[in-house]
């Protein structure tokens, strides 16, 4: 299905790839439908595009690409979303949202406190709030260099 986006024009995304966020993202409670696509093949980033608002899109990545020891307790998300019905372990995907300051990509940061967790079976996602203060809201992706 063709979807309208401000950044990329019309993008073709198969309907079975659509994602529902019953609670939305924090700050965007009424934007419930999203899809994930890559701007460029092989990129570590994906775009999380709203289907309800062509202008709303987020850059996300896999947190374990840059923080292999990242741990999150998904029990709460699983229960709140009712994903535990199957009994077995739910194969979940996890993304973190990237903030890239305008014109300053070297200062990009990842939000490790509010990861987006996707259940590929139900195509539902939720932004999990990790109250564990161990994780940064602005974790620099490019470390050391600036020091």
């Amino acid at each position: 299905m063709k979807i309208e986006t401000t950044r990329f024009g019309r993008v073709d995304v198969p309907e079975e790839k659509f994602i529902t966020m019953p609670h939305g993202l924090l700050g965007f409670p009424d934007k419930r439908r999203f899809c994930i696509f890559q701007q460029k093949q092989g990129s570590p980033f994906v775009w999380y595009q709203s289907l309800d608002d062509p202008a709303l899109a987020f850059v996300m990545t896999n947190p374990w690409l840059f923080k292999p020891d990242y741990r999150l307790d998904l029990e709460l998300a699983i229960q709140a979303m009712g994903w535990d019905g199957d009994g077995d372990q739910v194969p979940l995907e996890c993304y973190v949202i990237i903030t890239i300051p305008r014109g300053a990509p070297e200062r990009m940061t990842a939000n490790l406190m509010g990861p987006v967790v996707l259940n590929p079976n139900t195509r539902e996602a939720v932004q999990v709030v990790l109250s564990d203060e161990a994780y940064s809201l602005k974790y620099p992706l490019l470390q050391q260099k600036a020091a």
Binding site: F45, L92, I98
Partner: protein, 89 residues
């Protein structure tokens, strides 16, 4: 908003299964205990607000900056780990 006055050791019941207890009052600080069923998220409001603010910033990213960011950041491997066993060890 419902406003209730409570003393130390007193409680408030919300719905059938959420209980907020005033454990201790010291100066301008109050220590609360919250009993809620599993699946109900309980967090300090500031954390919600901080994540919300960060989401608002992240929503302003422009595509050209993402292309530049890709050139700067080369992760070693491109495997898409799924959460589950891997996150528990």
């Amino acid at each position: 908003m419902l406003v209730l006055t409570r003393k130390s050791d007193e409680k408030i019941t919300i719905g059938d299964d959420i209980i907020v207890s005033v454990l201790e009052i010291k100066g301008s600080q109050v220590k609360l205990g919250i009993d809620a069923p599993k699946g109900i998220a309980v967090h300090r409001s500031e954390i919600y607000e901080r994540i919300q603010d960060e989401n608002l910033l992240a929503a302003n990213v422009v595509a050209a900056d993402c292309v530049e960011a890709e050139k700067l950041w080369k992760p070693r491997k491109g495997n898409q780990d799924t959460v589950g066993g891997e996150s528990e060890d």
